[in-house]
């Protein structure tokens, strides 16, 4: 997690060891407790400034990071694409240098370009946290997902997790695959070949084209969002076909004796990857992921900014 500029970063799950992940999850538990208090704040990051640099629109993740920073008593600034200089085509390098000139302790960056957080570390003198870079990674999502799995099912090692959907375009899938492998879980990807990235088995996962096969095996069913663009790229014929083959339909759900924990990074496409009635039934887990998100991000900010200074 230590960067070349002398600051700590969280750019990718691959930078973390299994012990680091577990420590963050444990620490997230304490932070979850803070959010149940009447005064939902601790002074841990008082006087520190955190910038949310969201070059790709996102309401949920940005709000989650903002809330996490504020509950640690940090000051938060928000830059998003609609703001003046970024939309005028200012380079990431110049944006980074401007932010740093204002004296900032950490930048939380989301970009549609893989590698942007990594590049940013070369131009800023502060910590950088990856809130999602293109198709590459979304480390805090994986951490909050593991947190949810552990809280709900009591364990991670040996857990059987099936990830369903557009793996090729999913940074959430990549981060989860790395994280789950590190903590000793087993990952099965469920998708047609046309939605799987090249040589994905070499990431240490199994692959199947059958959702029904995965349903009899998994403890956790992690559904990814499917997008219309993929139809235009001929990745699969139509949303209807996708739902038939890979959707968690009412029929499939009711056929199961043992129901897995159903998770989704949000927002859900009701009627596509998950039937509306099933979504209602499993809603609590998914909204639980949201609360977990704030606690996990508090743990990450606390860890990253608690650097050895002085």
């Amino acid at each position: 997690m230590a960067g070349d500029n002398g600051f700590r970063h969280l750019l990718s799950i691959t930078d973390l060891e299994a012990e680091d992940i577990i420590k963050l999850l444990d620490s997230a538990r304490s932070f979850a407790e803070v959010s149940t208090r009447p005064v939902k704040k601790v002074p841990a990051l008082r006087g520190r400034t955190i910038v949310n640099l969201f070059l790709e629109p996102s309401t949920r993740t940005r709000m989650s990071f903002e809330l996490a920073a504020k509950r640690l008593s940090a000051d938060v600034m928000n830059f998003s694409t609609s703001e003046s200089s970024l939309s005028k085509g200012e380079s990431l390098k110049d944006t980074g240098k401007t932010i740093v000139a204002m004296g900032v302790d950490a930048v939380v960056i989301r970009s549609m370009h893989a590698g942007a957080p990594q590049m940013l570390t070369e131009w800023v003198e502060c910590s950088v946290i990856n809130a999602g870079d293109g198709m590459h990674e979304h480390p805090t999502q994986a951490l909050l997902d593991l947190f949810t799995m552990r809280e709900r099912l009591g364990r991670l090692e040996g857990l059987k997790v099936a990830i369903v959907g557009d793996i090729d375009h999913s940074r959430v899938a990549r981060s989860n695959i790395h994280a789950l492998n590190k903590v000793g879980a087993e990952v099965l990807l469920v998708a047609p070949r046309s939605l799987l990235p090249a040589r994905v088995e070499e990431m240490g996962v199994s692959v199947t084209g059958s959702l029904d096969e995965a349903l009899t095996w998994c403890d956790v069913l992690y559904l990814l969002r499917i997008q219309m663009e993929r139809v235009n790229e001929s990745r699969f014929p139509s949303l209807r076909e996708y739902t038939l083959q890979y959707g968690l339909t009412q029929t499939r759900w009711s056929r199961l004796d043992r129901k897995p924990l159903v998770m989704h990074p949000g927002p859900m496409n009701r009627g596509v990857e998950i039937a509306s009635l099933v979504a209602d039934e499993v809603e609590s887990v998914i909204t639980g992921q949201v609360a977990a998100g704030v606690a996990t991000r508090m743990a990450v900010l606390y860890d990253v900014l608690g650097g050895s200074r002085g």
């Binding site: 620490s27 304490s30 407790e33 650097g307 002085g310």
Partner: protein
């Protein structure tokens, strides 16, 4: 770094007597057990708090609430100590508004831990009174903090270490002074 003991200042019997004495002192000062809550500072303060609570319950016959406080997020040395030191969970399931809260810790030293504990407590509510009970006071205060109930006063040098062992955590009850090497 290993701890090398030089002197044993308290053994199991001493500690048991201290717990009894402090329990009586708390009751005396607060004129009974009504409205008293004990909040132990993680880790060993929690077990001491529970022992005090049991003893008080034995004397007065009524239950005393015990809370657990982790002060990691309130430390003032956060920037140098780092954020990944293991954090525990705070559990204060009861209302502390208008109560007499007795903070319980094993060693009172610079006073910074107690300052952090008071800040944390204030985020939970507004106690009527906050008192402090410690097993050992080793001096070298850096803040104007004092204990209301002290098990033993132990003058120490700055480079010495006071090691408190409790049965629940360490398998044995004793307090030693020694060095890190």
């Amino acid at each position: 770094m290993e701890f090398k003991a030089r002197v044993r200042v308290l053994d199991a019997e001493d500690i048991a007597r201290i717990v009894k004495r402090i329990s009586h002192e708390i009751l005396e000062r607060n004129k009974g057990a009504g409205g008293i809550t004990l909040v132990g500072i993680r880790t060993r303060g929690v077990f001491l708090a529970r022992r005090l609570a049991r003893t008080i319950e034995g004397i007065e016959g009524c239950e005393v609430e015990v809370g657990e406080l982790d002060i990691s997020f309130y430390r003032d040395d956060y920037a140098t100590r780092g954020g990944s030191a293991s954090i525990g969970v705070t559990q204060i399931d009861f209302d502390i508004n208008d109560k007499q809260v007795v903070i319980v810790d094993d060693v009172l030293y610079t006073g910074r831990t107690i300052r952090a504990a008071m800040d944390a407590l204030m985020d939970f509510g507004r106690p009527r009174v906050i008192q402090l009970a410690v097993l050992v006071d080793r001096g070298h205060r850096e803040l104007p903090i004092r204990a209301d109930y002290v098990g033993k006063n132990l003058p120490t040098a700055g480079d010495e270490r006071v090691k408190v062992s409790l049965e629940e955590v360490d398998g044995v009850d004793r307090v030693e002074i020694g060095e890190e090497e």
